[in-house]
Each structure stands twice: as C-alpha cells, then as structure tokens.
Symmetry: C2
Subunit: 218 residues, 2 copies
DNA sequence: GGTCATTTCGTACATAGTACGGTAGCGTCA
DNA sequence: TGACGCTACCGTACTATGTACGAAATGACC
C-alpha cells in the first residue's frame, strides 16, 4: 500500500531530501527528524537505508561533487579546467554548507573520484608532466575551495548587502582601520561591486600560473 | 577560596580551554561539559562569561587568527605576504577544525580585522592600487584557505600514511582510474612525498600572480 | 559580623542521534 | 486459502547536548 501514498524510500531519495533541507535551512537544520518530515516518513525509517547521519553527510558531499561538470580530456586544457573551476564554484555557491562538510569527511565518494580522475586526465593530456599535474591540481582546488570559503564567510548576505556592511565598518572603525576604510569607500561600496566578480580575475591568474607549470614541467 | 585551587574563570581562560579541547579531540569533542571539565568547573559556570556556545566558537576563530603573524607594511611586500601566508597555513594546520568554523561564523573578531588591515596596508604600501589590492587579497586568502581545506580533508592522517592510502587506491581501482593510479605510483608513493610541500610551490606561483596584479594596477 | 554583588553551581527541559524491538503489508508455498 | 516470513516502516526510550532558571557560595566592604 506504500506505493500509493508515496514512492518507497531509497537511499537516493534520502540524499536528495537531505540536500533540499540543507539548502533551505542550512546544515544545522538537517536533523534526522527534519529529514524524515521532508520525506513524509518517520525518523527511524531513514535508518533502514543509511547506517547513521555521518553516512548521509558523506553522501551529501558526493552529491555536490556530482553537480560539478567534468572536464573533458579531449578538449583544450585551459578551456576545460576553466569550465571546471566555474562549475565547481557555482556548485559550492548553491550549497554553501558543503565546504564545512568537506573539512570533516575524508572518505571520497564516487563522484569525487571521477572528478579527480577527469581533471588529472585533462591536465596530462594537455601536456602537464605527472609532477606538474600534481602541483596544478593542488593549486586549482586550493583556489576554488578557498574562494568558496571566503564567499560563504562574507559578513551575512550576498552581493548587495556588502555595501551596507562596508558602510558600518567605516563608521565604526574609521580611524582604526584606514586601509579597510579606503578599500571600502573606493572599491567595495562603489555601485556594481560584487565580490563574486573577483572569481574570474583570480581564475585567469591561476590559469596563467598553470601554464607556467605546464611549460616548465613541474 | 577559589584562588587557592584554581584561578578565577575569565572569558580568556574559557577560550584557551576551548582551544585545547578542540585541538586534542576535534570540534565534536568540544561541548560545554567537556570544556567545563577541562577548566575544572561545572558547566553552567561558563555561561557567566559567554552568552552561548556560538560566542565561544566565534572567539575560537579569532583566537586562531591571532596566531597568524601580521605582515609589516614597512617591509618588502612579497616577503611580507609570503610570510603571512606561511604563518596562516601553519595556524590552520595546528587547528584543522578552524576552517570548518570559519564557514559558519560571519562575525569577524578583532584579530581578524587587524589581519585584514595589516595585509591591505602591506599591499598598498607595496605599490598595489586599491583595486589591485582587492584582487590580490581575494587571491591570497583563497589559496591559503583552500590549501588548508585540502590538507585537512586528505584521506586520514598526515604525510606518511599517504603512501599507504595511495597503495590501496591503486589496488582497488587500478583500471577504473588510470590517471590517479599514475600519479599515485609515480609521485605520491615516491619516498619523501609530502602533500604539504605543494604549499610552497603554489605560494610562489600566487606571489608571481600578485606581481602581475601590482604591475598592471588591477 | 552583616549586607551585597559577583561568581559558581544544581536541577531540569527541549532537542539531537539512534538502539531495540514491534508491526504491517507483500510474496511464497503448502 | 491460509500460514509464514521478508522487507519496509514505526514507537518507545535512552543518552548526550545546549542552556534557562533560580539557589547557593564566595569575597568585598561597612
């Protein structure tokens, strides 16, 4: 009779539900009980498909990774890696809680592994030596993850409010932090400013750095 | 009679205790009760000095920031920024839980602000335009934070065990992940490999990129 | 020594994860 | 057709956590 009222539960449905809960309410809002409610089920039903909450969290991380476009080893490396970076950043922006999760979960899921593989393939095919590919990989992910960390830990909201925050900083600290005041007034508070735009600038610089690595072979 | 058996509690003592607990047992081990035990006090005593646990976590983040050497605006920018990057990475390595915390706490503490200010000062004094300094700042922190994220999410342990993990990956996935296998056998499993060494390589590349920003003025 | 402010604690409650065993709907075989 | 068992789901309850609330202990000052 279960199929009539709702689809039967699956591990996948659980993960998708967890993703939805985390996206709307943040990681803190994701409890077994809230997840069960989201799924239209009682809490303990979940435990038929996952051993514990940690397993759900591991699954979530992999879910996010699976949203990242894989680079194609046949394509031009710079293009492909650039696309992958943009895609990764977009995914981490859609799911700002993901970075914090990644820190604690050290068991890579299938999507994570595929991503590693595809990226390494693209680099190697693009003319990077093994060692250069290793260096490149560390740099790429450092930049993408680090940017995501900064983006999610920006004081409160998204783009627009930044101006407001900057104004407050200025008013409160003015004399104490002259350089912050300077950058706030002359840059951050300017109309059209969006921290997210920094991503493209840094990305191009990182890609240039990769080219250096590629040419010098490590 | 308290001064005989122990110093009186202070907000600072609480934060230092919390840092100790988190360092030895990870963030999960940091509970009000465990913290109280560490301090030789009953749980509710803590609440006389902090409003809630979140405030402790905010304090912890700032505590970690305070361990990062401030760059000196009078020094040569490349030298100073480099030192700051190394110092930041070292701090984040000492306190691997800090990155995950940073994601959620968006209220910067005094140490965080000082660090921002000193870094901006160094860049501006070093010849970066306002806009270039903004770009530079985003790039620097992205790299440092992102590297820390990667470092803490490395499968399990520190340096040495990496070789072991790589072997397992190889055995398990061999055919499925040829490029990962390649990099594992030819690089990661080589004696003396340490992921941490990647930091210096990426750091130099980032510093080169900063020089580009500086010269072109944004 | 009495009063008061400060600091510490005891108790208790809501919410979290989840162990354990029960139950209900389905297919299978006699 | 009915007994049985398997799978999916649920009810109850235990433990740990953050923390509200008010009591108690301590030290300062008259």
């Amino acid at each position: 009779m279960y199929e009539m009222t709702r689809e039967t539960l699956t591990r996948d449905r659980i993960l998708r539900g967890a993703l939805a809960v985390a996206d709307t309410g943040g990681l803190a809002a994701l409890t077994i009980r809230s997840l069960a409610t989201e799924l239209g089920v009682k809490p303990m039903a979940v435990y038929h498909y996952v051993a514990n909450k940690d397993e759900i969290l591991d699954g979530l991380v992999d879910q996010v990774f699976s949203e990242i476009d894989l680079p194609s080893p046949e394509g031009e490396w710079r293009e492909e890696i650039s696309r992958r970076m943009v895609s990764a950043r977009a995914a981490l922006r859609r799911h700002p809680w993901a970075i914090a999760l990644m820190e604690s979960r050290r068991t890579p899921g299938p999507a994570s592994l595929s991503r590693h593989e595809a990226t390494l393939a693209t680099l190697r095919q693009g003319g990077f030596s093994v060692v250069a590919a290793a260096h490149a990989y560390a740099l790429i992910d450092s930049y993408v993850y680090g940017f995501a960390v900064q983006e999610t830990s920006l004081p409160i909201g998204r783009p627009e409010e930044m101006g407001e925050v900057a104004r407050e900083i200025m008013e409160t600290f003015e004399g104490a932090y002259p350089y912050m005041t300077e950058i706030a007034t002359e840059h951050v508070m300017q109309p059209g400013y969006d921290f997210g735009d920094e991503f493209e600038i840094g990305r191009e610089l990182v890609l240039d750095a990769l080219e250096v690595l590629r040419r010098r072979g490590g």
